[in-house]
């Protein structure tokens, strides 16, 4: 415990600390970091009061699960939803993040539930849980990277891991900044980010789009900006072939798309990215979560840019 406390003070070596602290999860619930409880938090437009440091957390958000474990709150987590597949030590259950069942959640006697704002009827679910006197944090998908950092901090405050949360933020921030600094800011490299094989994409107004634009890439989906208010337009095959992107990022690689499958699509063999094999297969779930593995997202893009340049 003393060793851990000393390490907590040594915030200058965040990567090392992150690795070390993960191996001591058993101590994490026992000592206080930051403000005393009860804490009042604002999350996803909802004010939550958490009476004491939670010991039975249920995470119904794969992103929140990743954050909880990176902030050493893993030992306080009793259950995570069926899609929370990372880290593998998370206590995965059949609980659904998309259509949560209040009674099934309450049956596990949690003292804190982290709910995704995108869940079906998240507002009614959250109200029902409050009736049962269960604290709820509502996790909303951020539109900018700063929103992700403030969610790290909120989860840290809620779980009594404020200093771990601050370390996580500085670790992720420093890693991303160094990736950005190392990448060549070549504004002329164009790319297509594929959400699914019906050519839904993400414009620069989205969280995903911000990641690319911060690295200086040019998004071919931006021309279709007006088509969808949420920033996820469906592009036409013709436009895509004409736009001729230099890199293609497949966030649907986990569903079987790869260089070979895209090259057989009509007209795609002529696209620069396909001809030069600049087709990036993202590891599963990297692009759809705003947790600590954001670093991997930036790194994959940066590696692909180095290949083009």
């Amino acid at each position: 415990m003393l060793k851990r406390r000393v390490l907590s003070l040594a915030g200058a070596i965040p990567v090392f600390l992150l690795a070390t602290s993960i191996s001591y999860p058993a101590f994490s619930a026992t000592f206080s970091q930051g403000e005393p409880f009860p804490v009042t938090l604002q999350s996803g437009g909802v004010v939550t009061v958490i009476p004491q440091a939670p010991k039975r957390i249920i995470s119904l958000s794969p992103t929140a699960t990743e954050i909880l474990f990176a902030e050493n709150a893993g030992s306080q987590v009793i259950a995570v939803d069926s899609l929370s597949n990372y880290p593998t030590s998370a206590p995965i259950t059949k609980l659904s993040a998309f259509s949560p069942n209040v009674e099934a959640i309450a049956a596990k006697r949690p003292d804190l539930v982290i709910l995704s704002a995108d869940a079906t009827n998240s507002v009614s679910i959250q109200k029902a849980l409050r009736l049962l006197k269960i604290a709820v944090l509502v996790e909303k998908a951020p539109t900018q990277i700063s929103g992700a950092y403030s969610e790290f901090i909120t989860i840290g405050k809620a779980t009594n891991h404020v200093s771990d949360a601050k370390l996580l933020v500085s670790h992720v921030k420093n890693s991303i900044n160094s990736i950005i600094a190392k990448s060549r800011k070549n504004r002329s490299i164009t790319f297509f980010h594929e959400l699914d094989n019906t050519l839904y994409s993400a414009t620069s107004n989205t969280f995903i789009g911000h990641v690319y634009s911060s690295l200086g890439l040019k998004n071919i989906a931006d021309k279709a900006q007006g088509a969808d208010a949420s920033g996820y337009p469906q592009l036409s095959q013709e436009y895509l072939v004409t736009a001729n992107p230099q890199i293609i990022f497949l966030s649907d690689a986990q569903y079987g798309e790869n260089l070979q499958t895209v090259s057989t699509r009509p007209g795609w063999a002529q696209i620069s990215a396909v001809m030069n094999s600049n087709v990036v297969l993202f590891p599963a779930d990297i692009t759809s979560r705003w947790g600590p593995r954001l670093i991997d997202f930036y790194q994959s893009i940066s590696d692909a840019m180095a290949k083009v340049a």
Binding site: F98, V102, E103, A106, T120, S124, A128, S230, Q234
Partner: protein
């Protein structure tokens, strides 16, 4: 399915039998008690009964809240919605002299769907409070449009039916366009279309109870004359019934009930077809005097379906529309087939 039968024909036996209505009320009561007793969390049955009827030594603390504030409103809402959809379905089938008519026929479903989509897409914040109002207004407006377009009003039920289909397609087209422009709305709209009772709370139960119960009472009041609509208009006149006026009252009340049900729970399909035919099939009676039975039976059907929605996929929720359609679609085909054989 005989559509024109002399109601005084001797082979039909007595017009209605209060015992059947009483039995259906008892079934509903039993199913409702079952509905509040069962769920992912096990509650002591005896304590549930004690709590429900106000006896001492009932449930305490979290379990009490679970029963009285989560399960009970949900079961009541399921019962109200089931009653609304099945009585409206029965009335629509009479008014249109069409055994396959359902409460969504005149555009109520797509109008409400458009309203709900507008509520979900119009702002990024908390619009779920607006959703019931938007879908209610959407449903009523669509039915009014259908009336207006069909022009000759009720002189010819089929022209009303056709304009209902046109208005419905038009509403669905706009809804799909809106969804395409707001991809973030896709999932909430989709789950709303499948129908859900997860939003049930006492406030929703109160307002839907007010509208649905008054609509059903109006329909029961005119139910005796409704049987006259099964005859030709000339014959109805000779019985002292004004068929056009009666059709307007019946469709207006049925629309009020349907729009409220849709606003409270989304689009729950097939209840309006399955339950009326089931009740007619079991009781061998075509008459609309059975409307109270229809209401009890529809309520019991939906309470059971919701019990399935809460428990079958537990710990996840299954949209209730999946269950009603799963039971309803084969039944629908059965009715179609029987009708073809009959004619």
């Amino acid at each position: 399915m005989p559509t024109r039968k002399d109601p005084s024909a001797p082979q039909m036996g007595p017009m209605w039998n209060w015992r059947i209505t009483a039995i259906s009320a008892v079934v509903l009561f039993a199913v409702a008690v079952l509905g509040v007793s069962l769920g992912p969390i096990h509650l002591n049955f005896l304590k549930v009964i004690k709590t429900l009827f106000g006896f001492p030594h009932g449930l305490q603390g979290q379990e009490r809240v679970l029963l009285l504030d989560l399960r009970l409103p949900r079961v009541l809402l399921a019962a109200l919605v089931g009653a609304a959809l099945s009585t409206s379905g029965a009335v629509y089938q009479t008014v249109f002299r069409n055994p396959l008519a359902d409460p969504y026929l005149l555009g109520a479903a797509s109008g409400a769907g458009l309203g709900a989509t507008l509520a979900i897409t119009s702002s990024g914040g908390n619009v779920y409070g607006l959703l019931p109002i938007f879908s209610f207004v959407g449903g009523v407006l669509a039915v009014l449009t259908t009336f207006f377009i069909s022009g000759r009003f009720f002189a010819e039920p089929n022209s009303l039916l056709l304009s209902g289909i046109a208005v419905g397609s038009f509403g669905t087209a706009i809804q799909t366009y809106l969804q395409q422009r707001h991809s973030s709305a896709l999932r909430p709209v989709y789950s709303w279309i499948l129908g859900e009772l997860t939003i049930a709370n006492w406030q929703v139960v109160r307002w839907s109870c007010l509208y649905i119960v008054s609509a059903i009472l109006i329909l029961i009041t005119v139910s005796k004359q409704l049987d006259g609509l099964l005859l030709s208009d000339e014959e109805s006149f000779s019985l002292g019934i004004n068929p056009n006026k009666l059709r307007i009252i019946a469709v207006a009340a049925a629309t009020l009930a349907t729009a409220t049900a849709v606003a409270a729970s989304g689009l729950i399909g097939f209840v309006g077809i399955v339950v009326p035919h089931l009740v007619r099939g079991i009781t061998h009676r075509v008459t609309n005097r059975s409307l109270a039975t229809m209401a009890f039976a529809g309520a019991a059907f939906l309470v059971l379906a919701d019990l399935g929605a809460r428990t079958l996929l537990s710990p996840a929720e299954l949209p209730i529309g999946v269950i009603t359609a799963f039971v309803g679609a084969p039944f629908f085909l059965f009715v179609l087939r029987k009708k073809r054989v009959g004619s």
